[in-house]
């Protein structure tokens, strides 16, 4: 009898301690941050790490989620693509995070993707990209090509009367896919092949003389010409400088860039860039209360001279949507949150509503801005409403018939509407 009660007491206390341990473990919801804090991409990605930290801090001030506090787990994949896969595994197995915000380059996303699918993780990807992908485990809050590149081309053709096109890009997957889509789109619009010039340069290209001279010649043949630039990072400054030196102004041959934003422009000599264009879904200069509050919060969190940019807005939207979806699902379980995410609406920073569609892409407005000499972009054109992100481009032969729909009964990232089959992973 005595022995029994002791045993029961021991069992009880062990049980209690187990419960208390699990109670401590369940007290926080872990948010993984997978952005490079060193190496070449650190310049851009550090900003997004700070954004997530700011959002986590704010959510905790509001009382956290499901009555628990949020805890950010920051890792550094160091701009090293294979390391993204390792760090994703570390976050999901060792840290057991409930959600990951991360990646910038497409190659880093492609590296993390198999791990996410294998371990059924959840990631929010906040950067504009080339499309042609839809995974159950990823939500794409940046722009797909039809939310950035195609409206920009439409603007140039309709508002500026552009008839000849230079598609200039750095030689890697995003520019190549985007340019392929744009080329098909332009040809479908009736642009002749000889009115399209495509040019690729290596990373960090600095001698732009002959390319700019070619562009000048190409643009000097009587038809209004524009450059659609997917030139990345460092190579942009010498490119715009050379344009200026060869006397090409933004009125003669405007350049619309998809990778040049406020962050890239801050601390640059903007003189050769003034008047050229950039296409994004958000600009810091957009005037409304939500944006003003966000900028104020950001400057208070970091420092006065910091700027906001498009991928930050995408992170902001993604984070708020995830928080709402967790509240709606009542759990952080990936499958439940994934279903709760679809159809979520949250205000964006440009005065509209962001909607998460069935294909894990957002509906966003598209803005075209002109670069000003203070490094800000002045909106010169915007779409009437929001544009729904298209995972599979309608202008590429291989992906024309594919759609992505993560609701039942299809539940597929690449569903072929002709053969009625799901050709990839479920």
């Amino acid at each position: 009898m005595k022995l029994k009660s002791i045993a029961a007491g021991v069992a009880l206390s062990i049980g209690a301690s187990v419960i208390s341990i699990s109670a401590i473990a369940a007290e926080t919801i872990k948010v993984g941050v997978l952005h490079s804090l060193s190496g070449t991409m650190a310049i851009s990605e550090t900003t997004l790490k700070d954004t997530v930290l700011m959002m986590v801090e704010e959510q905790n001030k509001k009382g956290g989620l499901l009555g628990k506090q949020l805890e950010a787990v920051v890792v550094d994949p160091a701009s090293n693509w294979p390391l993204f896969a390792e760090k994703t595994r570390e976050l999901l197995t060792k840290e057991e995070v409930d959600v990951i915000f991360g990646c910038w380059t497409s190659v880093s996303r492609k590296s993390a993707l198999p791990v996410l699918e294998e371990l059924n993780g959840l990631m929010f990807y906040p950067v504009q990209y080339e499309g042609e992908e839809s995974s159950k485990n990823v939500f794409y809050t940046g722009a797909a090509p039809n939310q950035q590149a195609i409206p920009a081309v439409d603007y140039l053709a309709n508002d500026l009367g552009v008839e000849r096109w230079v598609l200039a890009g750095t030689d890697y997957v995003y520019p190549r896919t985007t340019n392929k889509i744009l080329e098909a789109y332009l040809k479908a619009k009736g642009v002749a092949a000889e009115d399209i010039m495509i040019n690729y340069t290596p990373f960090g290209h600095s001698d732009w003389q002959s390319i700019v001279s070619d562009i000048k010649k190409f643009g000097g043949e009587g038809k209004k010409t524009a450059v659609v630039s997917t030139i990345n990072g460092d190579a942009n400054v010498p490119f715009y400088k050379e344009l200026g030196n060869q006397g090409i102004s933004s009125e003669d041959i405007p350049v619309v860039a998809f990778s040049v934003g406020e962050e890239e422009l801050s601390g640059l000599d903007t003189t050769p860039l003034v008047g050229h264009l950039a296409a994004w879904n958000y600009f810091q200069s957009v005037e409304n209360d939500a944006n003003a509050a966000f900028i104020k919060q950001w400057k208070a969190f970091t420092s006065e001279e910091r700027v906001t940019n498009d991928p930050m807005e995408a992170t902001y939207i993604g984070f708020n949507m995830w928080a709402n979806a967790v509240t709606k699902a009542g759990t952080t379980d990936v499958d439940a949150v994934e279903q709760a995410m679809i159809g979520q609406e949250t205000p964006n920073l440009t005065g509209g509503m962001a909607v998460m569609n069935k294909n894990h892409h957002l509906s966003k407005p598209v803005l075209i801005g002109e670069i000003q000499d203070d490094g800000q972009l002045e909106v010169v054109w915007e779409t009437d409403g929001v544009v729904a992100g298209d995972a599979w481009s309608d202008f590429l032969p291989g992906s024309k018939d594919l759609i992505s729909d993560w609701t039942s009964p299809i539940k597929c990232g690449n569903y072929n509407t002709v053969t009625k089959e799901c050709s990839g992973s479920k």
Binding site: D207, I211, G220, P238, N245, E251, G275
Partner: protein
């Protein structure tokens, strides 16, 4: 030429009257309009009236309209304000046009010796102590910039400076309306400068090429045949393709053929220049290495970082003298030589000296040093690229004709590279240091026996090579990004040039740099930039297989 001019005079005589409607109206003498600017209550009423008629009212309107609605306001300003609007248009084009938030007075700002000054557009008076917070910018977009350029050109037709007039007519070529033609005809009568005359005649011919009379079109074609302007060529293309009159068609096709031949010729010169310019960059980057690697035989992987240090020196110099960017490069060149040179001597004394005769260890040690220097720069200056401004005299281009224009920064750097090369040659040939360097590099032991302090010579040679790399950095800061990775981008090219040219031969370096530059630039249009550099690399590998000692191998017993 005369005949064309006469016919055109008649052709557009009707529209001549409208020119005089465009004559500038005296505005700034009118005290009422000036008063309207400075008194806000009055200005408020001005805006509400549907069509403001005074320049002052229009200016206030300009501060309030949306960007998309600003064009009509500017058009009216041009009509009403005429020449008086010239400074304002220029200011607006440059982005220097602001208005005082309180009084709505439109001002042009400028910065003199770091101090902000604002001048009223109408009052022409300097405003007393203004700060940027009191002002708001009048924004411009491309549409407005396009208009402003045209408007400035129209107003410049009567400018006393003939170069300005020439540029003005050239700008107008793309948008020839009846009004502009009438203005041009009026200007042609009084024009004394031959170049401007020819340019106006071309403009008139461009206009006449749309005439209904085939004879007139033919005259126009003959005039356009002598021009290299793109607009003339485009017009000729259209005429050669679509003209209804066969005579005009044939004449246009013939003229086009001539022009195309010229374009091809100048295009060739253009490419040659690009090649020489790339060659000069390669030469600058490699010439320091030609000394440390070529003469001393040290494989210095930190050579790129010496270039980087030179570029950062330029950045620091510009930070120190923000109001004298024009002269900053002249200060930066000797300073960069000293900074990189000293670092070079330190490396030589501290590391390389102890690894003498062990090339593999030297390679690894200097590679380590290059990483240390990069990280040092990252910590001190941040990993972000730094902004190095180009002085005014280095931007823009030297226009030889409408097809061929050479960018000034490249031209200066080409000349600079040759100058540095010449100086280095003199140092090695004519000075006692040069004599010692050559002696040590040819036969170290013998030189030692002759009483030369080889240690000291080694340090000085390495310092000289590094210092020259620093100077190269100053030049490169004008072309490319100044960041921690600057050096890495040039180290491979530098080795390529030195090895190709022949180790230990400065002339070889010169020839190699220019031939690689030119080869690269002639390949680029055919193969694209990525493939061009691959082909050049493959060529060098094959070449080295055949001639391991490069283009100009060292001869004699000293050469192993």
């Amino acid at each position: 030429m005369r005949r064309l001019f006469a016919t055109l005079c008649c052709y557009v005589a009707a529209s001549l009257t409208s020119v005089y409607a465009n004559e500038p109206i005296e505005v700034d003498a009118d005290p009422a309009t000036v008063a309207a600017v400075s008194s806000p209550p009055l200005s408020a009423t001005m805006v509400e009236t549907e069509e403001p008629v005074s320049v002052a009212g229009l200016l206030i309107n300009l501060t309030e309209v949306k960007l998309s609605k600003a064009l009509p306001v500017l058009k009216q300003l041009e009509i009403l304000g005429g020449l008086d609007m010239l400074p304002m248009f220029k200011g607006m084009l440059e982005g220097d046009l602001y208005f005082v938030k309180a009084s709505k007075e439109v001002v042009i700002i400028s910065t003199v010796d770091g101090e902000l000054t604002a001048q009223g557009v109408l009052s022409k008076k300097q405003l007393a102590d203004v700060s940027k917070s009191q002002l708001k910018k009048i924004r411009v977009n491309n549409k407005l910039r396009g208009f402003l350029k045209q408007a400035i050109a129209r107003l410049h037709i009567s400018h006393p400076d003939s170069d300005k007039r020439l540029a003005a007519v050239q700008t107008l070529l793309t948008h020839l309306s009846d009004d502009t033609i009438a203005t041009l005809i009026a200007a042609r009568v009084n024009e004394a400068d031959e170049d401007v005359q020819a340019m106006i005649d071309l403009a008139l011919a461009l206009y006449q090429a749309d005439s209904k009379d085939p004879a007139e079109r033919l005259i126009a074609v003959n005039i356009m045949a002598d021009s290299l302007e793109g607009d003339a060529r485009n017009k000729l293309v259209k005429l050669a393709e679509n003209d209804t009159d066969t005579q005009v068609k044939v004449a246009a096709a013939k003229a086009l053929k001539q022009i195309n031949e010229k374009i091809e010729f100048y295009g060739f010169i253009d490419q040659l220049f690009f090649g020489l310019s790339l060659g000069s960059v390669l030469l600058l980057a490699a010439i320091g290495l030609a000394i440390t690697f070529g003469v001393m035989g040290v494989i210095n992987m930190a050579h790129g970082e010496m270039i980087m240090l030179g570029a950062y020196t330029t950045y620091v110099v510009q930070l120190m003298m923000p109001n004298a960017i024009e002269y900053s490069l002249w200060v930066a060149i000797p300073l960069a030589f000293v900074v990189s040179g000293c670092v070079g001597i330190l490396i030589e004394r501290g590391v390389i000296r102890h690894l003498h005769g062990r090339p593999l260890e030297t390679l690894l040690a200097t590679f380590g040093i290059s990483l240390i220097l990069q990280q040092l720069v990252r910590t001190v200056f941040s990993p972000l690229n730094r902004q190095v401004a180009s002085p005014e005299w280095m931007s823009g281009s030297l226009e030889i004709n409408p097809i061929l224009s050479l960018t000034l920064n490249r031209l200066y750097i080409l000349a600079f590279a040759l100058l540095v090369f010449g100086l280095l040659l003199i140092i090695l040939r004519k000075t006692s240091l040069g004599l010692n360097v050559r002696a040590v590099s040819q036969n170290r032991d013998m030189a030692k026996a002759m009483g030369i302090r080889t240690d000291w010579v080694d340090a000085m040679t390495f310092g000289l090579g590094s210092g020259i790399a620093g100077i190269a950095g100053v030049a490169l800061s004008q072309l490319t990004n100044v960041g921690p990775n600057l050096g890495q981008a040039y180290i491979i090219d530098s080795f390529m040039v030195v090895v190709f040219g022949g180790v230990g031969n400065l002339w070889g370096t010169l020839v190699a740099a220019f031939s690689l530059g030119i080869a690269n630039k002639f390949l680029e249009p055919v193969t694209g930039a990525v493939l061009a550099s691959i082909f050049v690399l493959i060529f060098i590998i094959l070449f080295i297989q055949k001639r391991p000692k490069g283009l100009f191998p060292q001869k004699g017993r000293a050469a192993e």
